[in-house]
């Protein structure tokens, strides 16, 4: 029995693999990259505009302007997600809207809205970080390890490389 399935399965598998590959839609990688570059770049330029606004019109400097800028971008992203606009742009832009921090906020807002019907605690509360959670978990773990190594390194060597 084993020998029979050994003979037929790889063949069927192979046939299926080639069939699946043929019918798989080919991804226009170059076109997608151009879209991601233009829209991601535009979003960052817009962010730069908000950043300059905070630096010149409010009491922020180059170091502290990052936080309010990101908060404004997140607010706009959540608003556009609520109105159903962000996902329409995201379908076209791919990584151009996913990679900026607005994509992070979008994933949280859409998860929160989607699970609203399951209740505030079990729905909104439990599912908000469904997609964004991996970013926070891996970011935190990586940052912890890196900061720990760096701190120990500085304490042992006195800060010199």
């Amino acid at each position: 029995m084993l020998s029979m399935s050994d003979k037929t399965e790889p063949k069927q598998n192979q046939a299926y693999q080639t069939f699946a590959k043929q019918s798989e839609p080919s991804i226009p990688i170059v076109f997608n990259c151009v879209k991601a570059f233009l829209i991601g770049g535009a979003l960052c330029t817009f962010g730069q505009g908000i950043r300059s606004l905070f630096i010149h019109n409010f009491d922020f400097n180059e170091q502290t302007a990052g936080d309010p800028t990101i908060a404004v971008l997140i607010f706009l992203s959540v608003l556009l997600t609520g109105l159903g606009v962000y996902d329409k742009i995201a379908q076209f832009a791919g990584a151009g809207t996913a990679v900026p921090v607005t994509g992070f906020a979008n994933s949280m807002a859409s998860a929160a809205m989607e699970y609203r019907t399951e209740g505030l605690v079990l729905g909104v509360g439990a599912n908000m970080f469904k997609l964004a959670g991996s970013v926070i978990v891996f970011g935190t773990v990586a940052a912890f390890i890196i900061a720990l190594i760096k701190t120990i390194w500085i304490q042992v060597t006195g800060g010199s490389l």
Binding site: G40, T45, D67, A95, M128, G139, F144, I146
Partner: protein
């Protein structure tokens, strides 16, 4: 000039994300995770801060800056309070981003109905 560099650098980071999704066939969640960890590593070896000085929002708006900020907060507290500061400081800088995202998303869930 800052606007031009913000556009170019931000665009390039998004292209890297797009390539990870299309060519390396990673899911969006995997792509974001890779980018965040990359940002943390780049800050660990001292390369992310020069990029922020150079490209402004081009470096702070993409999700890579989240990893950078986590390491930054941890290091700032660690310099003052020693090793325990790594734990206490890790969310120091990212607090604004995470709080804003949670608060606004919660409000959105109350106010809006999902579309499509």
């Amino acid at each position: 000039m800052m606007y031009v560099w913000a556009f170019i650098v931000g665009g390039i980071i998004c292209v890297i994300g797009q390539i990870l999704m299309d060519a390396a066939k990673l899911t969006p969640a995997h792509t974001m995770t890779v980018l965040v960890v990359s940002g943390a590593v780049l800050d660990g070896i001292g390369l992310y801060e020069p990029l922020v000085d150079f490209a402004g929002a081009g470096a702070t708006v993409p999700i890579t800056s989240f990893g950078n900020s986590l390491v930054h907060g941890a290091m700032a507290e660690a310099e003052q309070n020693g090793i325990i500061g790594v734990i206490t400081g890790i969310f120091e800088v990212t607090s604004a981003g995470i709080s804003a995202a949670v608060i606004f998303s919660f409000a959105a869930a109350l106010l809006f109905k999902p579309k499509g």
